[in-house]
């Protein structure tokens, strides 16, 4: 179809009768099935995204409790509260939880929830895969905590260096739990990423050309591309490790006696592990850009530069992994190359900071909780970035590596760079979840206490690292003189706990009794704010035609809307990659229980692989039938024919399209 035809089509106008008629049809077409089966089988990206965010916050709480236990143990020298066994399980689970089960999924969850809304569509490209991804993530997470509760939690660190995690030194099934958890959550991440990329490429509302995509959407796409190239490394590494460990398989990938190489594990792990940091951080920068734009009441300063910085960070993020291995016996020359890239990654991040500062400088502030969290983000993250520069220096890193200085550094980066913006984003988007605002006063208290607590916990750790305290020690001697600063840090942890409690109480209270929010309480610019809160399942009654980079700010009362989509099955407009010109109508599948079934089989297969390699063929046979059921019910369902109104033409050429019956 030629573009010219489209502009001719714009002449029609909508009548009230048609609007009401179509609304009724949309409501029934896009609704979930009833009951528990309906709950399990939903393909609504908003429900799945919210579940993902909610689950991730649950894991955040568990991970936080574990952190609190560690701080209790370390508050006094020679403390006997946790033994080394428990402490090692706890710090491993804390790290793995926060990285694999909180930070990445929560950012994906926000993406799953908001990306389709921001680009003006009703669904992700592959809605059934989406729910499959959620379940595999959930099973992976439960597996890890199941292990910890039974006192067989993994205890080789979240990085699981061989040989400590190998068959010889990693006893029992502890490390296997870790590696299967990793595989399951990475499957979930890969699924979500593919989904988000295709959605943003092909389902953007007409008119949203590449230079108009909201920055949060850019950040999610760029992150998703990073996931696609980073996560396979850790999936392979953990699968190979579990094959090494499985007694009747006993491969030798990391067994140095048989030609394996323990350093290869570090390469594989950090080839994933460093991009992982940016996989967490880049979506957060998207959130920062959104919040700063909305709350400084002006267009974003340096949009092109901000997109560039995310792309550049994504690339360079893959070229710095060896700085985690600066103290391994590799040649200094080769390592120095990574000093260069690790230092220059500061440049894109600096550009970002400068653009945000310029937006703030030139704007008029609407100083609400989300923006206050962003100010906290500046205070914390910039320092984390600067200590990162220190760690990038090969000689200096030999002193700082694996000490509490590094612990301080990456908590500044991850809590500062991701959790502060995330909290800001939750305060920002909460009205979209439930139609009510979070309490402002409690929000400010939360932010200030969290900030103070954070600085109390982590600032002293810089010093602890410099005066010799290594990471991952379950205790230390009184003679070391580390006691005071550790006590200070533990007190700070208590403050952080109080701050987080305020947040949870605020969230629960506001969910039910908070101030009712208008559709766009902050006067924001992206399309999700044009929707009523909470958002109906079909999201957009009519998909918009986007008029500019700040869609709502630049929308006029007469901007056209998309019509002519099927409303008796789930259909959205699919547009071209570069300029978002409509090219076809894309029908997606409705809810199905099969993704749940398939994820149960997948979970069982991976858990079985801890014990026997036969779980692989058996699981694949089961998966075959699972997917058969899935695909069989995959074809676009035709509901009872919807009688078209006069100005709503019939779409299907019966000769062209063979209708099929809804199965399963």
């Amino acid at each position: 179809m030629k573009n010219t035809d489209l502009s001719k089509k714009q002449s029609n106008t909508l009548t009230e009768a048609r609007i009401n008629e179509e609304l009724r049809a949309l409501e029934s077409t896009w609704s979930d099935k009833p009951g528990i089966i309906g709950w399990l089988s939903t393909t609504d990206h908003k429900r799945v995204g919210f579940r993902m965010v909610f689950t991730a916050f649950c894991f955040f709480t568990f991970g936080g409790i574990l952190a609190g236990l560690m701080r209790l143990q370390l508050s006094l020298p020679g403390n006997n509260f946790l033994g080394p066994d428990m402490y090692n399980q706890i710090f491993t689970t804390h790290g793995s939880t926060m990285m694999f089960l909180f930070a990445v999924p929560v950012m994906e969850g926000m993406g799953i929830y908001f990306v389709p809304l921001m680009i003006g569509t009703r669904t992700l490209a592959f809605p059934r895969l989406n729910i499959l991804g959620y379940y595999t993530y959930l099973f992976g997470g439960l597996l890890l905590f199941f292990g910890l509760l039974l006192n067989i939690g993994p205890d080789a660190g979240w990085f699981a260096y061989v040989p400590l995690s190998g068959p010889e030194y990693g006893i029992g099934k502890r490390v296997d739990l870790w590696s299967q958890m990793v595989s399951l959550t990475e499957i979930s991440a890969l699924i979500a990423s593919t989904n988000i990329i295709v959605t943003v490429m092909k389902l953007r509302a007409p008119g949203m050309s590449l230079n108009r995509i909201p920055l949060f959407v850019w950040s999610e796409v760029i992150t998703a591309v990073m996931v696609i190239f980073a996560m396979p490394a850790v999936m392979i590494a953990s699968s190979l490790l579990s094959m090494d460990r499985l007694t009747n398989v006993s491969t030798h990938f990391f067994n140095q006696a048989e030609g394996g190489d323990p350093i290869m594990w570090q390469h594989l792990f950090w080839f994933f592990g460093h991009p992982e940091v940016y996989i967490i951080f880049i979506p957060a920068t998207g959130m920062v850009s959104m919040i700063i734009t909305t709350f400084s009441r002006r267009k974003t300063f340096g949009y092109t530069a901000l997109v560039l910085t995310m792309v550049a960070t994504a690339f360079i993020g893959f070229g710095v992994w060896v700085h985690h291995m600066f103290v391994t016996p590799l040649p200094q020359l080769g390592q120095s190359i990574f000093t260069a890239s690790s230092m220059l990654i500061v440049v894109p991040n600096g550009v970002q900071i400068f653009c945000w500062l310029a937006t703030l400088w030139l704007g008029r502030w609407n100083l609400k909780t989300p923006l206050i969290f962003i100010l906290g983000f500046f205070g914390v993250f910039v320092m984390g970035g600067l200590t990162g520069v220190m760690l990038a220096s090969l000689p200096l890193d030999t002193q700082l590596h694996d000490t509490y200085f590094v612990v301080a550094h990456f908590h500044y980066v991850l809590i500062g760079g991701a959790v502060f913006p995330l909290f800001g984003a939750v305060y920002y988007w909460f009205p979209k979840f439930c139609g009510r605002l979070l309490n402002e006063a409690a929000g400010i208290a939360h932010c200030i206490l969290f900030f103070i607590g954070f600085e109390l916990v982590f600032f002293p750790m810089h010093i602890l690292g410099l005066i010799g305290m290594p990471r991952r020690v379950y205790t230390y001697l009184p003679e070391t003189g580390w006691g005071d600063l550790n006590m200070l840090a533990s007190i700070g942890a208590a403050v952080m706990v109080v701050a987080t409690l305020i947040f949870f109480i605020n969230a629960v209270y506001s969910w039910f009794w908070g101030k009712v929010a208008a559709a766009n309480p902050w006067g924001a610019d992206t399309l999700e704010w044009s929707l009523p809160s909470p958002i109906p399942q079909y999201a957009f009654q009519y998909q918009p035609v986007v008029q500019g980079r700040h869609a709502l700010w630049e929308q006029t009362a007469d901007s056209p809307v998309v019509t002519g989509l099927h409303i008796n099955n789930r259909e959205v407009v699919s547009t071209s990659i570069h300029d978002a010109v409509p090219d076809h109508r894309y029908g997606v599948q409705g809810p199905s229980i099969m993704p749940f079934v398939v994820s149960v089989i997948t979970g069982a297969m991976f858990i079985g692989f801890m014990f026997t390699p036969w779980s692989l063929p058996l699981g694949m046979i089961a998966l075959f039938f699972g997917f058969l059921g899935w695909f069989w019910s995959n074809s676009v369902e035709h509901r009872p024919p919807y009688a078209p109104l006069e100005d709503n033409p019939v779409y299907d050429d019966p000769a062209d399209y063979k209708p099929v019956e809804a199965a399963v």
Binding site: P262, L375, F378, I463, R471
Partner: protein
């Protein structure tokens, strides 16, 4: 809010600076109180980085605080600024461009300083003949072997490295089980000991004293209690210590000590421990030939006195859970004699 947070920030910076310099008072395990050539280079590098990054941090915070005071306030309902004043935008964009240029230049400067330091650290390895010591990381203690052309003159000890000041030391770092990392911050940065990857570390001590180091790579249960002591002393003191360490263990003198030796030699202890001059020649655990003269046992985690020694012998799992040394049951008299004997091994 910003004002509050920035004041807090300043206060916390000040407070932590105080704590920092206070903590530096007893820095015998500190990266910023170097007592060797290499650590001095590294510490110098650290202060350069700290100065520059702190300046950057202050500038960013000042801009943020200034923006807070300077900008107008708005409400959610206020119309957003879609076509801002071009001249202001242009000025801001020049400032941003300048800031980016400065960032790039700063990074290059820091890179050059780093590379220079890297080269400086490497020069010592070509200097005069070093003292060669082989350090083997084990779960969870350090075996120290002083290389000597005559094998019988080799000194083997554990968790305690004596070095002469002013002379380059070459450590050969080896591990046969899991990955450990050797770190004595007052002398040099750390180095990983990876199975199959033997490596070396050069450093030099410039001031006499007792310094501490610790395993820095997570290596299992007792990673926290895998410490070692570095005694830097004048050449003559070192030679005296070295000569004494080459001697076999002193013969027991008192009856109790003799009884203790008999207990030791009849027990499972000999399967893991060596005492030179006796039939005990196990290689699994630390060499005990001169253990009585050491200030610490259990890899630097327990002061070496009668009470601790007794506790350690009877129930090491209570002190370092997970280690390979089993519990031992002795009557009080036997234990007393055993401790007497071990304490006599000076």
């Amino acid at each position: 809010m910003t004002r509050v947070s920035s004041q807090l920030k300043a206060a916390s910076l000040l407070a932590s600076a105080c704590v920092f310099f206070f903590s530096c008072g007893h820095g015998n395990q500190s990266a910023v109180e170097p007592t060797g050539l290499q650590a001095e280079h590294l510490s110098f590098l650290w202060w350069i980085f700290l100065a520059i990054t702190a300046a950057v941090y202050v500038v960013v915070m000042v801009i943020l605080v200034a923006a807070f005071f300077r900008t107008q306030r708005a409400a959610a309902g206020d119309e957003a600024d879609l076509s801002p004043d071009p001249s202001r935008e242009k000025r801001a964009s020049s400032v941003v461009k300048a800031a980016v240029a400065v960032t790039v230049l700063t990074m290059f400067a820091l890179m050059l300083v780093s590379f220079r330091t890297g080269r400086a650290l490497d020069t010592l390895s070509q200097a005069q003949t070093p003292l060669e010591i082989k350090v083997t990381g084990q779960q969870w203690w350090w075996q120290i072997e002083y290389k000597d052309p005559t094998p019988s003159n080799m000194v083997t000890t554990a968790n305690e490295i004596h070095i002469p000041i002013g002379r380059p030391i070459k450590l050969e770092l080896v591990s046969h089980d899991v990955i450990h990392s050797f770190w004595a911050p007052n002398f040099h940065g750390k180095k990983d000991l990876i199975p199959n990857y033997p490596t070396t570390l050069f450093f030099r001590a410039d001031e006499p004293g007792v310094y501490w180091g610790q395993c820095a790579e997570f290596c299992g249960f007792e990673h926290a209690k895998m410490r070692f002591m570095v005694v830097a002393e004048p050449q003559e003191d070192f030679e005296r210590w070295y000569a004494a360490s080459q001697q076999p263990a002193p013969e027991p003198v008192t009856d109790s000590q003799k009884f203790g030796r008999d207990i030791f030699l009849k027990s499972v202890c000999t399967q893991c421990h060596t005492i030179q001059g006796t039939p005990a020649n196990g290689r699994v655990g630390p060499n005990l030939t001169h253990v009585g003269g050491k200030p610490y046992i259990a890899s630097g985690s327990l002061p070496n006195d009668r009470e601790n020694l007794a506790k350690w012998i009877t129930d090491p799992q209570a002190i370092k859970p997970g280690i390979r040394m089993p519990m031992n049951t002795y009557s009080p008299e036997e234990l007393n004699a055993l401790v007497d004997y071990i304490q006599s091994l000076k």
